[in-house]
Subunit: 463 residues, 2 copies
């Protein structure tokens, strides 16, 4: 029976756990993915954004025709060219990473199988090997939720498979209304696919209402939206997939993308059987050192990070948690201080079109929390950069506590939202108040950052 | 003879001086521009960026053909459509602003003439009116430098006139190598004009060497560059303008844009005759309250802001100085504290293509200043967003003091450089060290801000 000092299950953010600080430990990395390296690299953040960028250019050109006095022929994208370029790059990284973990370091071994915990210090692989360990990091991530009415197959996909299609779908149904569904809908629409998005409720629930309304209006102009309904039946024919909706509508598409939420992979791992504490969505409950809890108390020797351990389901959060876990392990080994301190607010960027970036509370949420909060909004169109964009719909909203000026949240929809948010994330993370934030620094004229500056100035007037 | 409590000469940033705080003062605003409102609004930052944006889209599409597996027909821009849209918007603002200053407020008068100071408390207008005043703000800005070999006319322009051409030039020579010349060259090239840029030395002197080299390489691919030479003779014919260069080359273009530096307008104002202190470029020397100096001492009742008072020649600096001047005037009136404190580093964005954003010292400048400085660079291509862009040439460089981690400068070339710079401007302005700056906040994955994050992490390792 093999024994390891440390086992890491999941090679997404988990793959960053082994490193120079743990070079004296015998470590087993476990990854049962089709491609080594987790969701972000292979089927998530990275490849999608590599498709989103060309799609966004196509969209900008389409807008340019109407708004910027430009005309052009149709932009024709070479789907296979994009796909092969993207996965030519990514698969090589995945394969290189796998090779390195398999044989690149004397203290690290790789197991490419699904595993199940049989105790706090033992696991069993799908092929029947039993492995013991002193310490464990659970980083098993999440997978797309499957829907009973839409069994996966040649025409019905998740993000795991849709980007590798041989041909760009002419007609695509996107099922879901969250960030992933909205990104894929905009991306395929930008590349010229005729998209319909079907979701049982509203788009992007949890995001600021004005932002959601702005996004939904933009989506309606660019692709078909069927909200408040769901697919009850899917019949695959030679011509495509015919979907029947709960509102009685029927439509036929070439392919379907199911992006209706994600299932935390702890269910396959046996963590329930070990009596560990779980959140409602299946993620493990952890303390500020990423140690998993049982009955509210940390379990010795077990950490969890990423989608296994939070409900944010964001790569930058998983990466941070992996760093915290490493330090906690080192502390457990007597080699470091315990990690301390909680990082500032978690930004979320929806790389759709329009792009959305947000952190913290909406005004309504702040009021619900009993805070004396105020909000200010600056439209892109109120600044010179917005004039350059000929923008008339996008905006920045910032929420702060009256008096103290503590930043409570920011909500941006529009071009470069994900970048424009960062000065506000930074201010909130380092405890900078809204008082003096705009006037305490230069904002180069006429860059898009003036939208943030002006929102801050308007907010400051209300404090 | 009319008398005013306050005269403001120049209605660019000077136009922000009159406001609620000075409503009890009788104020005269003087503007001798063809269009009311100064350079930025009428012939500078704002209209150029309104042309830059569509040009940038065209460039992105051209890049997309090569890099992003897309093909398209030629994008055809409607120059007159852009021009009429831009100036339809801007001229209306200028005219509305002029009307408001002329008759919108009982305490404000407008004089649309060139004026000359005859004493510290009197001016004379071109039409011969003499006006006295208690207090004066000089905000007369700057104008394009004219070149003897290139007399302005129907085919030889500056930024003051080129954007209003009836037809887009097919062939354009841009004379100069600074930010303005580089912006116009990229803009016209993006819109499909055949551009040659002619400059007596190198492009963008004063900017980080690696950034300049990267820019120059990109420029060479997109337009003709004649560096280290200058125009010695221009002959206008029916066919265009034939330029003879000092290196013996000869070339014919439809139009010429002279963008070879700017002359500070104090020369027309009589400030030399008043014995005020001037910088080498003609700008007035001011103290931290924007009070002009004579013999190193502040002159009672005279302030200067913007290009009249600094060598940055940037709108965000002028706007800041106008705010400082207002507070200083209020202090002089006994109604406010004196302004205090100096704002952090001044960012410069060159809205060319590629875009450049920079503040503070290069590593070489830091060493020249005797600082123990270190630098780190992160390429766009080293991040997931760079993969999405298929970027292989652009980068972020950050300079800090070893030990303290004090931010000394940052230098970015590439898409969205002007926005990416802001978290670093903010950190430098509020005295945040590089220590902990990257890891003390979330950077959403895989946004372009990760390039800045990674440069900070690399820099921190060297501190």
């Amino acid at each position: 029976m093999r024994h390891f000092d440390l086992v890491v299950i999941g090679a997404g953010s988990g793959n960053s756990i082994p490193g120079p600080a743990l070079v004296s430990e015998q470590i087993l990395v476990v990854d049962d993915g089709v491609h080594f390296g987790g969701t972000c690299l292979n089927v998530g953040c990275i490849p999608t954004k590599m498709f989103v960028h060309p799609a966004e250019i196509a969209h900008e050109v389409a807008e340019a025709r109407h708004v910027l006095n430009a005309t052009s022929g149709e932009i024709r994208y070479d789907w296979q060219g994009i796909r092969d370029r993207v996965f030519g790059r990514i698969d090589a990284i995945s394969e290189g990473g796998e090779e390195y973990r398999a044989s690149g370091e004397p203290n690290i071994s790789l197991l490419r199988e699904q595993v199940r915990l049989t105790s706090e210090h033992e696991l069993e692989s799908a092929s029947g090997e039993r492995i013991t360990f002193d310490r464990l990091v659970i980083a098993t991530g999440s997978r797309p939720r499957e829907l009973a009415a839409l069994p996966l197959g040649d025409r019905i996909h998740t993000n795991d498979t849709i980007l590798r299609l041989d041909n760009q779908p002419e007609r695509l149904a996107v099922i879901g209304g969250g960030a992933i569904a909205c990104e894929f809908a905009a991306m395929f629409a930008g590349l010229g696919t005729q998209v319909v998005q079907i979701h049982r409720s509203e788009l992007l629930r949890g995001v600021d209402d004005e932002v959601r309304a702005c996004f939904t209006e933009a989506a309606k102009r660019r692709w078909g939206l069927h909200l408040g309904t769901e697919v009850t039946r899917a019949v695959t024919t030679a011509d495509g997939v015919t979907l029947t909706l709960s509102n009685g509508d029927e439509l036929t598409v070439d392919h379907v993308l199911v992006a209706a939420g994600r299932v935390v992979n702890t269910d396959r791992l046996g963590t329930q059987e070990l009596g560990l504490d779980h959140r409602e969505n299946g993620a493990l409950v952890v303390d500020e050192q990423q140690r998993v809890l049982r009955g509210g108390e940390p379990v010795a020797g077990i950490w969890a990070v990423g989608d296994s351990a939070n409900t944010a389901q964001l790569k930058h959060v998983a990466n941070h948690e992996a760093r915290v876990a490493v330090q906690s392990i080192l502390h457990d080994l007597g080699r470091a201080e315990a990690p301390s301190g909680v990082l500032g607010p978690i930004p979320l960027v929806v790389f759709s079109s329009p792009q959305i970036a947000t952190f913290g509370r909406t005004l309504a949420e702040a009021h619900d929390d009993g805070l004396d909060a105020v909000e200010a909004r600056c439209d892109y169109g109120a600044t010179a950069w917005g004039w350059a964009l000929a923008d008339s719909e996008h905006f920045v909203k910032i929420v702060a506590e009256r008096g103290s000026g503590t930043l409570l949240g920011a909500h941006i929809i529009g071009p470069d939202a994900g970048i424009l948010l960062q000065p506000l994330v930074q201010a909130a993370s380092f405890g900078q108040s809204v008082h003096g934030l705009a006037r305490g620094q230069y904002w180069p004229h006429p860059a898009a950052t003036e939208i943030v500056e002006n929102a801050l100035l308007k907010l400051e007037e209300q404090l």
